[in-house]
Structures are given as structure tokens and as C-alpha cells.
């Protein structure tokens, strides 16, 4: 499904401040992050002070204010995943990619994030990537996954 335009997202919701989170959710879903100009347009479209839109966008973890990497690796840090070693996975990803959480690698390929429980606890530890859940992960499996993803992108690049 092609991403909606901002006008489409705002349709039916203009001047309704209580729709702010739904609007931001749609923007985040379609664009991967919330650009500054969009925050300004949303402020005008919904009739909410600019600082308030900025505040909501910065409060909720679902919204990113900067573009993410091509592959977003999300580690589940829920309790069940934690006791099965999720911390080691996070360390593995940040060390292997050389970035801190929330940052993007210089080549733009990866960013590492965490989420506080995806609700698939019996299959933990879980690493989610582009919506698919990789379960029963270990540091070794994660290392291989990262290399596979990196290889895919470079191949695709070469083919073009």
C-alpha cells in the first residue's frame, strides 16, 4: 500500500486535537519518522500549539524524530527475554555495529533500538527486524543475522 500524503492522513481529523496520536501513528507508519515540517503542518491542521505537538512526538517511544537505518533491529527487553539473556544480545548488536541505541550506523544501514516487551514471551529472546520476529536468539545467531542483512544490501547495491 503506498504511503498516504499528509492531507490524506489529516482528512476527517482537522481541528480535532484528540486525534493527535492517531495522526502521528499514521505518519510514523508511512514515513518511518516524523519530520520537522510535518510537525508544523500537523500543528496547523489539528489546531494544536507547536510546542504541544513536539512534546507528544518526543514523549512516546513509537515516534522517531530522526530517520532510522534501513534495517531497524529491535531487541525485546521484557522480563522473560531478559532472564534468557536479552542483555547480551543488545551488547552484541551495539558492539558489532559500533553504535549506541537509537543511533544509525554511518553507512545508514542499521539502527538498534529496544522495546519493552512484544508479548511473544514464550519464544524469547526476540529480535524484531522489519516486522518479522526472530525468536530464541543467541549472540551467535544475531551476529549471523546482521551479516546476512549487511550482505543483502551490498548485493542489491551492486546489482543496481
Amino acid at each position: 500500500m503506498p504511503p498516504q500524503t499528509l492531507d490524506q492522513i489529516l482528512e476527517g481529523r482537522r481541528s480535532q486535537p484528540n486525534q493527535l496520536i492517531e495522526v502521528l501513528q499514521d505518519i510514523q507508519g508511512d514515513y518511518g519518522y516524523i519530520p520537522k515540517e510535518v510537525i508544523q503542518s500537523v500543528s496547523q491542521g489539528l489546531g494544536i500549539p507547536l510546542i504541544e505537538v513536539y512534546r507528544v512526538a518526543s514523549f512516546y517511544k513509537a515516534f522517531r524524530l530522526k530517520p532510522p537505518g534501513k534495517n531497524v533491529l529491535t531487541m525485546c527487553m521484557g522480563t522473560a527475554c531478559h532472564v534468557r539473556g536479552a542483555r547480551l544480545l543488545l551488547d552484541q548488536a551495539t558492539v558489532q555495529l559500533g553504535v549506541k541505541q537509537g543511533e544509525v550506523t554511518p553507512d545508514g544501514l542499521f539502527s538498534v533500538e529496544h522495546v519493552n516487551c512484544l508479548g511473544a514471551c514464550a519464544l524469547g529472546p526476540i529480535v524484531s527486524e522489519s516486522g518479522s520476529y526472530h525468536h530464541h536468539m543467541t549472540p551467535t545467531k544475531l551476529r549471523k543475522l546482521i551479516e546476512t542483512l549487511r550482505h543483502q544490501k551490498t548485493e542489491a547495491h551492486q546489482n543496481v
Partner: protein, 623 residues
């Protein structure tokens, strides 16, 4: 199907649908919940569907994509009726055999049956499996033959008859009385008597009132609500409708957390279908009751599980709690009387109406010291270091021991169970010698923990309890809204001290300061998040103080977790020099020649855990 204008029309539709299915001889139920989907159940569903078409069995065999059955590690899960045959780890390649052998010829495929790891016996049907045998699956069993995206399935199974009964023959006050006699208490964590909340809203002045379903389920390690909402959204809707009738609300919201896209999708579909039949909207089933529901999504904030923060979020604002000197039952969403209940609480309502309050109250505990006890069943998310993880439903009053050992099957890999953590970040850890305690709101609260939403994480000898306290404090610091001083600064300082302890900088006086600060935060914080934030620290200090002291005085982490206090080494007796760890180590910390015992250089070792997870001979030791 067109709009239903009366109770009679609903029953007529139910009859019709049941008659249409009379030719169905076999039902194949495949789990399409989030857990099994991660194990590729979608491919299984497609393969079975194709096979059934190919064999031209569509008319006689019903393929039902259901919600979660709770035994996620065994997924994809498939159940075949008649016969209640339970298959696990089904793959798309098995589709042909399943259809040909079991569906057409009624023969069991042995290799797809569940094998109990302890006894080695295979189980043919669900009730033979130890995991299921000790449970009382009042709510979860309703996931069995209902496709969450099909209102027809729900109606065939008897759905919306509780609503019809209420609208035709029970007054709102009588509904509240019935809920009161049942003893239903909030299933989201508070354990607050549901009827009392409803009465307060009912009595509040004004005719603009709301009901809300809290599906934020922020407790990490808990996914009961996801299962119920994804698997049977109409059950929750029906509960909300009955509640709305009782309190006098005309609008409701289901607030679903952002991390549950499937639950959002299924709830939306359910609402659309209910509207289509006139079960939501004006003059429902020809009565004077008008009610509609919208779905609101969370934005990724644990604090939005708190009622005032949730309501702020529905209003499009930041999820910052506000003081609750006046209850939300009187002053809630848009400052109107609002009844907020958890998914599981709502899900219990229809069966209480249909089966009666005495039926519900017949299960559970009696209570003491002014409390009426805990009634009915509770769904628990049993996870962590045990053999059988998944969703479990037991009667209140069941001892923890039964859940951990009879249902959970005990610890994995022959380790010893050390503790169980209940109630999420607001709860606490209970040691093994407390496992005879019953699952009961007041009993667990007295012991320093709580049922909470139902999360139950089992910990073994390789779990460091100080690290557990650190984990929860880190989580709470991440999720705190930051508005009030005790929560924002208090959690920060508690985490600072616990980190000192896990990093080997702990001092004995910090334990007393930790307790004093924990007590201050619990008494002065603005909302429930802050008030209960000290619980993990307090309960681990209460029951596992020796571990803290070992970290401080001996600078040792006996569970082998805290990186600053452990060393990785190779046991020369077990190592056969295969070299797998050497090749896997990215820090070059392992040396050794082929077929000779290898050695880890402690200076270079970063304790990343790769060698340990690779070694097939259990030769990597952590001390």
C-alpha cells in the same frame, strides 16, 4: 447478514448459522496468534487450506484460524475435532498428511503429537498434556473454535446472548448487584472490586459517561490481554457493552498498546462487524440502549497503563498521570465519569451473567481480615527459566507450586528454581519456600509481591537477584513520565546504588539507604508507577539479602551474571580442543591448539557470551 432489530432476530440468526454448519464433520483449528505466527503458522494455514480445496473437502471440513492457545513454544499448534487431537510444531509440509490421514481417515500422526519431556509419554488430546491438565481454562478455552475475525463464529458459540439477556430482562442496578455478588476484582493489577467502581460511575451525575478497556498491557513478560483481545475480541466487546448498560455510558474506547498490531486489527474488525449487525450503534437489539466503541492506539509508554495517563493519551496528550484525589469513576476522560477496566475483567462479565454470580464465586478463596477473597480464575503468563512456558489459566487459590512445577514442568536443563517474579515491575520476587502461597490478591500483597496483571517469570540459580532489581529499575526509569521528583530522582538514585553494587563498588551502608529511599518513593510518588517502583528492590532485599551482601562484601556474583564480578574460563577436563569458541571469539581472547584444552585470557574477555552459547561440551565456566 443484515442489522438485527430484536433479541428474537439474534436467536434466529444463531439458529440459521448453526444449521448451515450441520454438514461440517471435522474442524481443523490452527493458531494464528502472534506467537505461532512467529513460528510461521500462516504458511501452515495456507497449506492446509490449499490441501482441503484440492481434496474438495471445503464443504465438510471447517478450517478455523484461531487465537492463541497459550502453549506458544509448541507452535504452530493445531487441534482437530472431533477427537480433540492436539498437534504441535506443525509445518506446512505436514498439510497433506494431516488432511489425508487425520481428517479423511481419522488416523493419528504420532510424530506430531506432544511428547512430555519429563515422562517421555505422548499425549493424544489436550487434557492429557500436563501443561493443560492442571488448568481451569474458562476464558482461554473460548479461543478454541472461534476465528477472531468472524462474528458468525462467536454467535454460533453462543455469543451476545448475555447482552441480549441483560437488555431484555436485567436492570443496570441488578447487573451491578450480580457483579458484586460474584466478587469480581480488577484483573489489571489493582484487584479493585469491580462492582464498586461501576456503582460509583452509575451514581455520578451527568449523562455523558465512558467505559474504557485497558489493553495497554505494559508489564514486560505479560501477554494475557494480547491473547484474549487477539483471539476473542467479541468477548471483550460484549463485556464492555454490559458494563456500559450498567453504568449508563454511551461511548467506549479500547486502548490498545502500540506493540500489538494484530490486536488493534482484530479489535477494529470486531467493532465494524458488530456495527454491521446493529450490536453497536443506536437502539441495540431494539432496546433503548445506544452504545458505540472506538479503538485508540497507544504510543509506546508503559505509564499509559495507569488510568489517568491512559485517559490523557486518548485525549491526544502526553501520558502524564494526574493526582487521583478524585476517582476517575467520577472525573475521568474529558472530566466525565469513566469506568476503566482491564481486558480480562471485561472478558469475565458475559459468563458471570450467563452462569450466575454463585458459579463464579464458587471458585477461589474465602479471604480474611475484611477482604472477601479472590474469586474466579486468573490468566497468568508463565515464562522464564522453566520447561513449559505459555499462558495458563487457574482458579484463584491455586498454590504457586502447582503452577511452576505441575503446569510449568520445573526448571530447564536440570537447574534449581530459585524464585518467581509476579506482578511485573510493580510486583516482587518470591523465593521457593514461599511457593505454597496461593494465587490470591491479598496473600501475595502481604508477602511483598502482587498478582498484578498476571505475569509470572520463573528464575533459577543462574539468575542474579540484584541484577533483577537493576533490570526493573532500568525499565522503570525508561518508562517514568518524569513529572514528579520522587519517581524521577528516586528511581535514578536507587539505580545508581544498585549499579554500584553490581559493578563491585557497593558499600554496606547503601543497603540501608536503599531501603529508606525505597520507602520514601513508595509513599510520596504521584502515581502508581512511582509508588510501586521500589517493590522489586524491596522484595529482593527482603528475601535475597545474602546475594546483595555477597556482591558488596565478597565482590562476588554467584549466579554468574554481573559482568564486573565474574570471570569466564574453560574447564580443561571438559574441553576437547574443537576450536569452535576460538573461532567465534571476536575479541581474540581464546587461544589453544587443536585437540588441546583452550584458554581464555581474562584481560581480553568481554564476557559477551558467544563462546558459552557455542560450546557443545558445556566446557565454558562462569565464576
Amino acid at each position: 447478514m443484515s442489522r438485527l432489530n430484536s433479541f428474537r432476530e439474534l436467536e434466529h440468526l444463531r439458529q440459521q448459522l448453526r444449521e448451515q454448519r450441520q454438514n461440517i464433520t471435522t474442524t481443523v483449528m490452527v493458531c494464528g496468534g502472534t506467537g505461532c505466527q512467529a513460528s510461521r503458522s500462516r504458511a501452515v494455514i495456507d497449506a492446509v487450506s490449499d490441501e482441503l480445496s484440492r481434496q474438495e473437502l471445503d464443504m465438510r471440513v471447517r478450517l478455523c484460524v484461531t487465537g492463541c492457545h497459550g502453549f506458544c513454544e509448541q507452535g504452530p499448534v493445531m487441534i482437530i475435532e472431533p477427537g480433540n487431537v492436539f498437534y504441535c510444531h506443525v509445518s506446512p509440509e505436514d498439510a497433506f498428511e494431516v488432511v489425508y490421514q487425520t481428517v479423511m481417515k481419522g488416523e493419528i500422526i504420532e510424530r506430531l503429537l506432544y511428547t512430555d519431556p519429563i515422562s517421555g509419554k505422548t499425549a493424544r488430546i489436550m487434557s492429557e498434556i500436563p501443561f493443560y491438565r492442571a488448568q481451569d481454562r474458562q476464558i482461554l478455552s473460548q479461543n478454541l473454535n472461534v476465528d477472531p475475525c468472524s462474528i458468525e463464529d462467536y454467535i454460533v458459540a453462543g455469543g451476545y446472548s448475555a447482552l441480549a439477556r441483560v437488555l431484555t430482562s436485567i436492570t443496570p442496578e441488578e447487573v451491578i448487584e450480580e457483579i458484586k455478588s460474584s466478587g469480581l476484582r480488577g484483573r489489571g493489577g489493582g484487584g479493585f472490586p469491580t462492582a464498586r467502581k461501576w456503582s460509583e460511575s452509575r451514581a455520578a451525575p451527568g449523562d455523558e459517561k465512558y467505559v474504557i478497556c485497558n489493553a495497554d498491557e505494559g508489564d514486560p513478560g505479560a501477554y494475557m490481554d494480547r491473547c484474549v483481545l487477539e483471539g476473542n475480541p467479541h468477548l471483550v466487546l460484549e463485556g464492555m457493552m454490559i458494563g456500559a448498560w450498567a453504568v449508563g455510558a454511551r461511548k467506549g474506547y479500547i486502548y490498545v498498546r502500540n506493540e500489538y498490531p494484530l490486536a488493534v486489527k482484530h479489535s477494529r474488525i470486531a467493532v465494524e462487524q458488530a456495527r454491521g449487525l446493529g450490536l453497536l450503534g443506536d437502539n441495540i437489539l431494539g432496546s433503548s440502549f445506544s452504545f458505540d466503541v472506538d479503538i485508540a492506539r497507544g504510543g509506546g509508554a508503559f505509564v499509559c497503563g495507569e488510568s489517568t495517563a491512559l485517559m490523557a493519551s486518548v485525549e491526544g496528550k502526553v501520558g502524564e498521570p494526574r493526582p487521583k484525589d478524585v476517582h476517575t469513576a467520577l472525573d475521568g476522560l474529558y472530566h466525565k465519569p469513566t469506568t476503566l477496566n482491564n481486558v480480562e475483567t471485561w472478558a469475565n462479565v458475559p459468563s458471570i451473567i450467563l452462569n450466575g454470580s454463585s458459579w463464579f464465586a464458587s471458585k477461589g478463596t474465602q479471604g480474611s481480615k475484611g477482604s472477601k477473597g479472590s474469586k474466579g480464575t486468573k490468566i497468568l503468563a508463565l515464562t522464564g527459566r522453566i520447561k513449559n512456558t505459555g499462558l495458563v489459566e487457574v482458579a484463584m487459590g491455586t498454590p504457586i507450586r502447582t503452577v511452576v512445577f505441575d503446569i510449568g514442568g520445573g526448571a530447564i536443563n536440570g537447574k534449581l528454581v530459585k524464585a518467581v517474579q509476579t506482578g511485573g515491575p510493580s510486583g516482587g520476587c518470591l523465593p521457593v519456600d514461599k511457593f505454597d502461597l496461593a494465587i490470591d490478591f491479598d496473600v501475595l500483597y502481604e508477602a511483598g509481591s502482587m498478582i498484578g496483571s498476571g505475569g509470572m517469570v520463573v528464575m533459577d540459580e543462574e539468575t542474579c537477584m540484584v541484577d533483577v532489581a537493576k533490570y526493573f529499575l532500568t525499565f522503570l526509569q525508561d518508562e517514568s513520565c518524569g513529572k514528579c521528583l520522587p519517581c524521577r530522582l528516586g528511581i535514578d538514585r536507587m539505580l545508581e546504588m544498585v549499579t554500584d553494587i553490581t559493578d563491585g563498588r557497593g558499600r554496606p551502608e547503601q543497603l540501608d539507604l536503599l531501603e529508606e529511599l525505597a520507602d520514601t518513593v513508595s509513599q510520596t510518588a504521584l502515581c502508581g508507577l512511582g509508588k510501586t517502583a521500589p517493590n522489586p528492590v524491596l522484595s529482593t532485599l527482603r528475601y535475597f539479602r545474602p546475594e546483595y551482601e555477597a556482591h558488596i562484601r565478597e565482590k562476588k556474583c554467584y549466579a554468574g551474571v554481573c559482568k564486573a564480578l565474574i570471570t569466564y574460563s574453560i574447564d580443561p577436563d571438559k574441553c576437547n580442543g574443537c576450536g569452535v569458541c576460538l573461532r567465534g571469539c571476536v575479541y581474540g581472547a581464546i587461544t589453544g591448539s587443536k585437540k588441546q584444552a583452550h584458554v581464555i585470557d581474562a584481560q581480553l574477555c568481554q564476557k559477551c557470551g558467544i563462546c558459552r552459547s557455542e560450546c557443545k561440551f558445556d566446557a565454558i565456566q562462569v565464576v
